[in-house]
Subunit: 282 residues, 2 copies
């Protein structure tokens, strides 16, 4: 991997890298914040998955996470949200399908499947690369995300028991097989067999008996996508029916934007830090 | 003034307004963050002036100020950086002249002078509007800015003794009559008489005996504009020669970006809060 940016921030370094991804079969860009502690010894890692239309740049610029990461001694990895490049399939007339809208699934359908393998990319290829190249601890990773990335964080944690020490989400798309955004992407990337969609749907995974891990979710009561796209209620029902641990915090008057995310990101980072540094003192 | 956005953030509200400016003779947009305390009683105000190419959106999105403002009970006003609109003069081929580059001066030259009156706008018209319409304290304002906005903050404070309780700047253009950016804008907005430029140059104002107010300035040692545009050394020399109080902190390895600003904005807000809340306990 090739470092393309190196920016000092809160005593640590915000780096950007480019590499040839074998999962996505194209050149991929991602950013990593390394806190000051990483110059002394390896640190735990939080993976941040962003939402529709985002790249690796949105959260690193707007979420205000680096301040807390520097205090707590956490690295943060910001992957892109889809494969990129001139030969990658896209739907130019739509911002909610194709580039910027990978939905963290492995596509099985033409013309998408040759590049849209974001699930493998964020759960396997990228962590392996990060762990081999950067000063991070191998068995201490957590995951968090916003909107489409909140969906991504939930399914990555639910489908990989033990891989993540903690998971949290802001305004996640909880039941994408019912949401317009989810249906648009899943039908394109996964085809018409709706059974295959359930494998990438947090609510369905919990209904199907996913291994328990506590879910911390913040959502704004004034989120403009709450009713039509997020389907938080579906997740709540599934968690109740399956005795699945969910801490859902409906935050009064907040919307779907990064102004909302920034308001509570400090609490999420503290939550992950506790899980990630957990047995440091044992 | 008309409110066009109302976004909950850190328990307070980030609002955006539009109004017809008499100084700039056009419709202007600005943002204000009102901390939670402002719902109880009026709060002090910090004016933030942004740099070249920015609008009212950059700092509110990238600087991470609102978190500290909420803790400290400060309102923050984010003005635009120039007049806007189809009939406002511009130099489309350049990003460092015209729209987005008002340089906080009152233009005297055609075709600029009918709209480019940003000095009057930020020092007179906007504070009067804010003080009449929003829950802020009249005699408690401070000013801060970045790059071209750092220059703006310094000249506003230096030219208006007593108007601002404190002033600070990130990576300011300290001696614009020597910098390429400053010369380009000053020659256009103020004409060929270079004597008239000095009225808007922090270094010249200090050399000419400006009333003393402590200056807090942070600048990155790896700032890509440090040598060619900022002329910090000129300011240091002028301050030494005139016994002018300057706290210049060269921050090792930091650059010119908002990643640098966000790293130290908390310290600047604490500095301003101390001045602004100063005699609360007297």
């Amino acid at each position: 991997m090739q470092q393309t940016e190196h920016i000092k921030e809160f005593g640590g370094w915000l780096n950007r890298y480019k590499h040839e991804s074998t999962s996505c079969n194209c050149s991929m860009t991602f950013s990593v914040y390394l806190p000051p502690q990483a110059t002394v010894s390896p640190v735990p890692v939080l993976y941040w998955l962003s939402g529709l239309t985002c790249s690796d740049d949105n959260a690193r610029t707007k979420a205000g996470m680096q301040r807390y990461a520097a205090e707590l001694g956490l690295a943060i990895v910001f992957p892109d949200t889809s494969p990129r490049g001139a030969d990658v399939a896209d739907e130019r007339s739509r911002w909610d399908l194709g580039k910027g809208a990978g939905f963290y699934v492995n596509s099985t359908q033409e013309p998408w499947r040759s590049h849209y393998q974001m699930y493998d990319y964020v759960t396997r290829e990228l962590p392996a690369l990060i762990e081999s190249e950067l000063p991070v601890l191998k068995d201490r990773k957590s995951i968090c995300g916003h909107s489409m990335g909140g969906h991504g964080a939930l399914i990555c944690a639910l489908k990989n028991p033990g891989a993540y020490r903690s998971v949290s989400a802001f305004s996640p798309i909880c039941n994408p097989i019912l949401s317009g955004w989810g249906q648009g992407c899943f039908s394109a990337y996964l085809g018409s067999d709706e059974e295959s969609w359930k494998e990438y749907d947090a609510t369905c995974l919990i209904e199907d008996g996913a291994q328990k891990i506590p879910l911390l979710i913040d959502c704004g009561s004034n989120d403009e996508y709450l009713v039509d796209q997020l389907y938080i209620d579906s997740l709540v029902t599934a968690c109740r029916a399956n005795d699945f641990p969910l801490n859902l915090r409906m935050q009064r008057d907040y919307d779907h934007s990064y102004h909302f995310v920034s308001s509570f990101i400090g609490e999420h980072l503290a939550y992950h830090a506790e899980a990630l540094h957990g047995d440091r003192d044992r």
